[in-house]
């Protein structure tokens, strides 16, 4: 489409800028959690992630050692040491002794605390507290300081989240739910789609109408009766009502209308001549389906598989209703939702968990985008 809409340089420039703004709005949020998930957890709260390549500065408070640590030196009582304990790699820019003025004195200068007492805190954290009189008391001097740390990136968050927050286990659970729930509907839908596209039988038109109707039936309509049914079956057979088998079948059921709709419209569009010549050669419907239709339908089968994979992987509602929340069953989305409640402020945990949750869909999406778009265009009646 070559539309000559405003040939001026300015208007073409404007289009580039506008698209750039849209792209920025659509990518920056995701970038934010990716960058944050790789940052040191103390730095995440000390500065915005967009500043993560600059040194982050923060104001901290500490207490100097008590009087028992003093030593006599040149006729003065002196307490020496390092506010960071043993040499953290941060730099102090200023310090103070009042909470109201935490950065009163620049680092490296001696502050007069009155009564001849002086305190000097250097950039590397070392301090000298000196007084003509002996220090008393077992509580040391309070000190405040502004320190800045160089940007620090780490994969520690991933280690923590995968192995001690249970995200690794949930990842396996999500795979356990998703793969069978993606594979099982394909064959069932393909056979039904072929019959609805190429076989003549009474009630076919009604069946197609029912399937198109079911495409938009909200999931919410199914939840309560199925929950009752599952509980009933569980009680009747004395087995748990929340099982992987239950959720595989549920996802199969919820995915079928779209699968049949998508596959039917594709299979119906295959050239009639191929089918008819095969039939003249004596092939039965079963043979035609297996030897001709199935291989030709590969692109649409791939489209559906991607859709179903993404939909099951990203689903929260079905998993919360039909699966338990114990570690051996909780899927990634449900786990992430639980972490939002229990780890609300721990952004290093939340951003890392979120990124692990979205990484598989993103890989699938980027590597198979063509099939995804094709499915989207063919099946855009579906309500999601």
């Amino acid at each position: 489409m070559a539309v000559a809409t405003g040939n001026s340089f300015a208007s073409r420039f404007g289009v580039h800028i506008a698209v750039l703004v849209f792209v920025a709005i659509w990518t920056i949020p995701t970038l934010g959690i990716l960058v944050s998930s790789l940052r040191d957890k103390d730095q995440i709260v000390a500065s915005g992630w967009w500043n993560s390549f600059a040194s982050s500065s923060q104001t901290e408070a500490g207490r100097l050692p008590p009087a028992s640590a003093q030593a006599q030196k040149d006729g003065k009582y002196v307490i020496e040491g390092n506010v960071f304990g043993d040499g953290a790699k941060r730099a102090i820019s200023a310090f103070g002794i009042k909470a109201a003025a935490p950065t009163q004195y620049p680092a490296g200068t001696a502050a007069d605390l009155g009564d001849g007492v002086s305190l000097q805190v250097n950039a590397d954290g070392s301090f000298v507290l000196a007084s003509p009189k002996a220090f008393e008391g077992d509580r040391g001097q309070r000190v405040y300081y502004a320190s800045s740390a160089p940007p620090k990136f780490t994969t520690d968050n991933y280690q923590t989240v995968l192995f001690s927050e249970g995200i690794g286990r949930s990842f396996m659970n999500s795979l356990t739910v998703t793969i069978p729930a993606t594979v099982i509907p394909i064959l069932i839908a393909a056979f039904a789609a072929y019959a609805l596209a190429w076989m003549r039988f009474p009630g076919r038109a009604l069946l197609i109408a029912v399937i198109i109707g079911l495409l938009v039936v909200p999931l919410q309509m199914s939840l309560i009766p199925l929950l009752k049914l599952y509980n009933g079956v569980g009680t009747f057979f004395g087995v748990p009502s929340k099982t992987y088998l239950g959720i595989w079948l549920a996802h199969t059921g919820f995915g079928l209308p779209f699968a049949i709709y998508l596959l039917r419209s594709y299979i119906a569009g295959l050239p009639r001549e191929i089918m008819e010549s095969a039939r003249i050669d004596g092939a039965s419907d079963f043979e035609i389906f297996v030897k001709i239709v199935l291989p030709l339908s590969f692109p649409v089968l791939a489209s559906f598989a991607i859709f179903q994979f993404l939909w099951v992987w990203n689903d929260l509602l079905v998993a919360m209703v039909f699966l338990g929340t114990a570690p051996d069953q909780i899927v990634l989305t449900a786990k992430l939702n639980a972490l939002l409640g229990s780890r609300g402020g721990n952004w290093e945990i939340l951003t890392t968990s979120a990124f692990i949750t979205i990484i598989v869909p993103l890989i699938v999406f980027f590597s198979l985008q063509r099939y995804f778009v094709r499915g989207l265009l063919a099946g855009s009646v579906k309500g999601g």
């Binding site: 489409m1 070559a2 809409t5 405003g6 208007s11 580039h16 698209v19 792209v23 659509w26 920056i28 949020p29 995701t30 934010g32 959690i33 995440i44 915005g48 967009w50 396996m172 356990t176 069978p180 594979v183 099982i184 069932i188 039904a192 019959a195 003549r200 039988f201 029912v210 109707g213 079911l214 938009v216 039936v217 909200p218 919410q220 309509m221 199914s222 309560i224 009766p225 009752k228 595989w248 079948l249 059921g253 919820f254 039965s284 079963f286 992987w313 990203n314 929260l316 509602l317 992430l336 939702n337 939002l340 939340l350 979120a354 979205i358 993103l362 699938v364 999406f365 265009l377 855009s380």
Partner: protein, 337 residues
């Protein structure tokens, strides 16, 4: 965990193998019962006819059984349950519907859903259309479209975390680590707890869904725009139409059907929106929506199936017009086939 992986692989083999065995076996059985080869002419013709009567049902059978259990039966049962009490055993007539008319939470949820319906489909379609038109004109449009399309692959929960991080609030004077509050503070504004501001928080939740769904609208509309005959656009240029006139008077009317499809698809999605509200606010601060309220009633205090079912019916009633329209469209298209 090893057992779990093993059982998943086992199920894939059993599931796929079972399907293959069923379809192959049922077909074989049919050939055995009504042989069409190696019998006399009339018998073969008769048997072929019988096969033709039965085989379609063998093909659609498994799908029909699953659809019946998982969708058709539940729809009827939900309607039925909406006239029963919390346990689903005692008939209560229209008491649940009377409750629905009076309940302030439910009214709030319906109003919020209406707000979502008014904003999200329109915003997604409009933004999608604008981006589709703009990206068509530049050399890196495909890359731009890919990136804008990308959130569609992200789960609602994941997107909620992403945006919660953007809306993150820190007390005044502290360093804002949420992008939105940081920008506002940078320009001298007052940081806010965005998701707990009644009424306006709805919009902050909607932004998440718009962010996800604009890519969908963009891809569909972009492909429709490509289908516009170039002559119509050239003619408009020759007649001296400006870009805005071309957009509104030439392009938009020609893709009206596609716009309607995009709009209705997102409308249905909005009616079912659940994950975003659950993870962001769980309906607090007047941000409740129907699907989340229903989930709440399903499990609140052991669960009230009657009221939950009633809320599901309310969502269903809103979907029915779109459903009827879809079936009509499909009948029109497949009428000849």
């Amino acid at each position: 965990m090893a057992a779990q992986i093993f059982s998943a692989i086992f199920v894939i083999i059993i599931g796929v193998g079972g399907c293959v065995a069923y379809f192959w076996g049922a077909n074989k059985l049919l050939d055995l019962i009504f042989p069409s080869r190696g019998v006399s002419g009339t018998a073969a013709v008769n048997n072929l006819r019988r096969q033709g009567l039965i085989r379609p049902w063998l093909f659609v059978g498994p799908a029909m059984i699953i659809l019946t259990i998982y969708l058709i039966y539940p729809v009827i049962a939900t309607l039925w349950l909406s006239f029963f009490d919390r346990g689903g055993t005692g008939f209560v007539g229209v008491a649940n519907y009377e409750w629905a008319l009076r309940d302030p939470d439910l009214r709030n949820a319906i109003l919020n859903n209406l707000l979502w319906l008014a904003v999200v489909p329109a915003a997604c379609t409009f933004l999608g259309l604008i981006i589709a038109v703009l990206t068509d004109k530049i050399w890196w449009g495909t890359i731009a479209k890919s990136l804008i399309f990308l959130p569609l692959a992200i789960s609602f929960v994941g997107a909620s975390v992403i945006w919660k991080f953007i809306y993150e609030y820190r007390g005044e004077g502290q360093v804002q680590i949420g992008l939105l509050n940081a920008i506002i503070q940078h320009f001298g504004g007052q940081p806010q707890v965005w998701i707990s501001l009644p009424f306006w928080n709805n919009f902050f939740l909607m932004i998440i869904l718009i962010w996800i769904q604009t890519g969908f609208a963009m891809v569909i509309l972009s492909s429709a725009l490509r289908g516009i005959p170039e002559e119509t656009l050239e003619a408009a240029v020759i007649d001296g139409a400006n870009p805005f006139q071309i957009f509104w008077k030439i392009m938009v009317p020609q893709i009206w059907g596609t716009i309607a499809v995009v709009w209705t698809t997102i409308t249905i999605l909005v009616l079912k929106v659940f994950d975003i509200v659950l993870t962001m606010t769980n309906g607090q601060w007047n941000s409740q929506v129907l699907a989340n309220l229903m989930f709440d009633w399903m499990f609140r205090g052991g669960g009230d199936f009657g009221r939950g079912a009633t809320i599901a019916i309310i969502i269903m009633i809103a979907v029915i017009p779109i459903m009827v329209w879809n079936i009509r469209q499909a009948n029109k298209e497949t009428g000849g086939h």
